[in-house]
Amino acid sequence: MKHHLIPRIVTKLIIPLILLFGLYIQFHGDFTAGGGFQAGVIFAAGFILYNIIFGIKVGQSILSINMTKNLMASGLLLYIFVGFLGILLGGNFLDYNPLSSNSVQGQLTGVFLIELGVGLTVSNVMILIFYSFNCTDQEQT
């Protein structure tokens, strides 16, 4: 879609706002609406928009398929790791109280890390599904 001037200019303006809104929903989900799932989807939507306008090849130079695979697994592993961290520090599975000396602070830290894991997994799964639908043989390496 390189020859369409207006979509390209509007996309350039709008993509930073979409990504910023995704990050806001991710990290402000404790106090306002949203959380890791919604933030991941919005972030992926912004990145997919970039791919649609500027071509998948340009998008893959930023985030390749192998990178999305690794990031999607690492989000899930971060979640499970936080769960086992609770056991190692003397609590139950997915118990955030022992993560910090203050139990409220521990809860905040645990929820923050878990939402980060959810966001990573969801956004990268969405981008990966988009890639696998749209890549031709040569591009998918």
């Binding site: 404790d30 959380g35 799932f37 979640y79 905040l108 969801v122 988009f130």
Partner: protein, 155 residues
């Protein structure tokens, strides 16, 4: 609304999703509304349209009679409108399904977790194990799509 054109079917799905998101917003379900707008109207549209690129826009060789479909639709409409009378009134403060655990979450989310958004505190804190299962489901969906659409010779 019966159409054989898949493109217009996708477009009506988006419009339905957006109206649903607005209804959730009016009913104060901001988190659900955000999810519906992002997933229902955003990502799934992109995925539907990418699928459409590999197939044909028109449905061919569809000789199905319309009568069973319409009767199924009418049956669904009747049964759903029968249930509507059991829904709580709009704007009612005390709902009938309010249980002990619901009250506990609403009262203690601020003091125990320091999180004012009760939805987040239930999803990530009180019901963290369920969310773990949810993330695993999304992960499995990703790897199965990758497995199905994998090109030959690419591991």
């Amino acid at each position: 609304m019966i159409t054989r054109n898949l493109f217009s079917a996708i477009m009506s799905t988006i419009i339905f999703s957006l109206i649903c998101a607005l209804i959730f917003l009016i009913l104060d379900g901001v988190d659900v509304s955000l999810t519906e707008a992002a997933v229902g109207a955003g990502i799934s549209t992109i995925l539907f349209l990418s699928t459409l690129k590999h197939t044909d826009i028109k449905i061919k060789n569809c000789n199905k009679k319309m009568f069973p479909l319409i009767s199924l639709f009418l049956l669904l409409l009747l049964s759903l409108s029968y249930v509507v009378s059991d829904l709580p009134e709009y704007g009612k403060i005390k709902i009938s399904s309010e249980s002990y655990t619901t009250k506990y979450y609403i009262d203690n989310s601020k003091t125990e977790m320091g999180i004012t958004n009760v939805v987040t505190s239930i999803l990530a804190g009180y019901r963290g194990f369920d969310t773990l299962g949810e993330v695993v489901v999304i992960f499995i969906a990703g790897i199965s799509v990758l497995g199905i659409l994998r090109k030959k010779g690419n591991p």
